[in-house]
Structures are given as C-alpha cells and as structure tokens.
Symmetry: C2
Subunit: 254 residues, 2 copies
C-alpha cells in the first residue's frame, strides 16, 4: 500500500512526523506537505501562479516533498503525476486541534482529504482535540495509532466512493478511549470578535480574535463523541445540496 501523508501545519509540524512514522507500519509512505502553515485556509486550487516543489527531510530523516501551495495543492500535484507511483490513500494530519462542525470547509486538513476524494483516491483527515496546547509539546501517540487503525480498516473494507473520513481523537491515552463512534457533523459555535488595533503609525488594523470556538454537545455528533471520550469518525460528502430546502423552494415562482 502506498500512502500519501500531508497536513496543513507545514512540513515541520510534529503531528505530520508522528503520522508519517505510524503510517510506515502499513506500507510505503510519501510525505508531501506545504512549506508553511495553512490553517483555516480552505479548499484551494492555485491557478494564478506556478508552484515550486522542493525535497526536504523530516526530523527523523524521512525524505519529504514540500511545496509553496496549499494542502489541497500538494495533494493535487502528487496525484496529477508529480509522484509517479500510484497512491492508494491520502492521510492528512495530525492537526493539533479538532476539526468538527462548520470547521470542515475552512480546514486545510479536511480539504486536503477532499481533494484526494475529488481525484478518486480515499481521503482521511486526522485531528487531535487538545483543549490546551501543553506548551506546544502535544502527545500525538494516540491520534497516530487511531489514524493507522482507521486507515487499515478503510483499505480492508473499502471506502464508499466519494466519501471523506473526518476523524477526531480526544486528548487521552489509547487505553483511556471509550471507543470509536460514527458521528454526524455537529454545530460549531464560533466566538470570533473584531479586535481593532493601531499600528506604530496610528493606522488601524484588525485581528479576527475572540475565544476558541466551542460547540453544541449533542449525542451522535462529532462534538458530542469527543466530549464523551470517543474517537469521532464522520463520513463527509462533497454534495452539499440541501434537499429539504430544495423541496420547499420548488414551489417558489420567480
């Protein structure tokens, strides 16, 4: 099995290293990640400028490709032929924060997996729900092991066509996990605030600030599963049609 490993935090991120190391237990790994952080950068296809691709090595000596494109660009470049060997699965992560609820269209981690699926390859996004940042030294052991178990299952059982697996892992030791739960996308509650400041020349600039997002703790959702100590696995589709609204709109006259 040939696994493409990518992320949205950039090629130097510890979560990428942990994921690449664990995926090597399943087969051949190619790492192809952005050369910088692209968090909350969305689903990008870079068309107005060309992209550079350079070779680098991870902290453990693993060879890797990096590009100046977004996570989804890295996946597109790899699948369009920059990586010659056939890729069987794309695994994106490990993101140091959960990607749940409305996060999924913003998330570079998730949109990299979307890009894989659009290109006909199974895509998994792996995120760690770490409410604190632990001085920047997060333990990715559990999330990496979960990623391996899910990737193994997906390749054994076959993934329904056109589905992205969005996997979120609580910040627990593996033996403390309550189990795995197949969930629906829940509701994120963003608490963004406009933070206006003045630069040294007295001109305003604006941060999108405020507290970290929270969510609605409903059973059966991604947010609910994490709160209860379960790994959340949400299958996502790329057909966004609101079918209920569609039926209502069909009676409208324009």
């Amino acid at each position: 099995m040939h696994i493409l490993v990518t992320n949205d935090d950039g090629v130097t991120a510890p979560g990428l290293l942990a994921l690449a190391q664990e995926m090597k237990k399943l087969g051949q790994v190619t790492v192809f990640a952005p050369d910088r952080n692209w968090s909350a950068s969305g689903h990008v296809k870079t068309m107005d400028r060309p992209l550079r691709v350079r070779e680098t090595i991870l902290a453990d000596g693993t060879p890797a490709f990096m590009s100046d494109g977004a996570p989804s660009d890295c996946v597109a470049l790899a699948l369009l032929g920059l990586i010659e060997e056939k890729i069987d699965i794309v695994v994106s992560g490990i993101n140091p924060n959960a990607n749940i609820g409305h996060d999924v269209t913003y998330s570079g981690t998730v949109t990299a997996a979307m890009e894989a699926v659009i290109d006909g390859v199974p895509g998994l996004a792996i995120s760690l729900d770490s409410p604190e940042n632990h001085g920047g030294k997060l333990d990715y052991t559990t999330a990496a092991s979960v990623a391996r178990r899910v990737a193994e299952k997906v390749t054994a059982e076959g993934l329904p066509q056109g589905v992205v697996w969005n996997v979120n892992v609580p910040y627990l030791k593996e033996n403390e996990l309550k189990g795995f739960m197949v969930t629906r996308q829940g509701l994120r509650l963003y608490r963004d605030e406009l933070d206006r400041r003045l630069d040294p020349r007295g001109r305003p600039y604006y941060w999108i600030g405020g507290q970290a997002p929270t969510g609605v703790d409903e059973p059966g959702t991604d947010f609910g599963a994490l709160r209860a100590g379960y790994v959340s696995i949400t299958p996502l589709q790329l057909d966004l049609t609101a079918r209920e609204a569609m039926r209502r709109l069909e009676n409208w006259k324009f």
Copy 2:
C-alpha cells in the same frame, strides 16, 4: 434592506460593479471586497496575520471597502462589527465563470456566502456561466437582474435557516432565458494536468494546467440546467455528513 455586496475577483472586477448597481434598486448597499483576486481560494478565516481595511471607490463612484483578506474574511469583518448597520443579506459575485458541482468548496464566491450563513445572515452566490471570455468584456446585465430577482424573492419569502443559495446564470439575454430551476449539485469533471516548466535558471516549476472543467449533463443538476438555458438555483447546506455512508459504517468494528 441593507445588502452587503462582495466577490472573489477583487474590488475592481466589473462583475462586482454590475451587482452593486443592480442591488441599489433593492435598498442600501455596502460594498466590501478583497483588494485582489482570490479565485479558487476556498473558505478562509485569516488568523495568523491581521487584516487591513481601506476605503476606495468603484468605477461609477460608489464608495467601497476593501481588505487584504479573502472574500470570507471580508464578510466576517463586516458582520463582526466593522460595518455598524445591521446587514440583512450578503450577495457575492458576479463571478465570470459558473460555480457548480465540486466547485462550491473551492469557490471564493460561494464560500463568502457560506461565511454569511455561518454568521446567521442569508447568503447568495451569483455566477455567470460564460464559456468564452469575450475579450474580457462580459455582459453582466442578465446575471445582475437575476441576482436582484432572487434576492428580492429570498427576502420576501424568507430563506430556510442555514442554507446558501448558489445561483448560476447562463450567458444569454434575459428574454432568452428558459426560466428558473431549483437544482441539486451536479458532478464536475476536472481536466487538470500537471504542466512542468523550467525557469530561466533551469529549475522546475509547476502549473496546475489543463482544459477548463466540464460536467455531467444530468437533468435536475446545476450543470444540466445551465446547458438547457435555465438559471440554476441550488440550495447548499453546511452539514456535509454522508448519511448513507454513515449507516454502512455503523456496522464496522474498530
């Protein structure tokens, strides 16, 4: 009614001007758009740098705000309080190309409307299906008029909560339109190719190239409606859960 007009092609785009002029027939218009092109830039929330906001004027003298953020950032800034008056609806466009099928998560036009909906305000995305670029001089008259008619209808009837209206308009005169069709999201067929070139110093760089995307011409879809000469109105939701896949996965043991 107070209408926020934005786009993903930047504040100087003729499609934005045409939309702003037409929306003035419905109420007060505030224009707030990116200062450059953000096509296929996805759903962005810029958090690693602050954003600048500047005042400018459109080609007809209409005052406008522009920022160095993405379309979705412009909407977020406006709704977080940079625009003090309550905004009743966000209208994004007019994009000079269709946004159908899988385009919707890439599209800056559509993700600006998504941002509005996440923030609790109705969001409309308006795109023109112009197969040729007509020397850069597209006629936005029909699409602008359609945008006004849809926005009028939405505010009169009330939009189902949490739904983005994705409107695509064929490149026809208004009296040549076959009508309006409520559609589901169809299937895009991307024809991207890796285009490897060498720079003046002999080092490779890569364009994501290839022919423009096409689609599967099925009745009832966005692509099918446009092909048949209809305005396509697709209600989109932000819950991407693949419910059919979910049922299948519930039997899996991890």
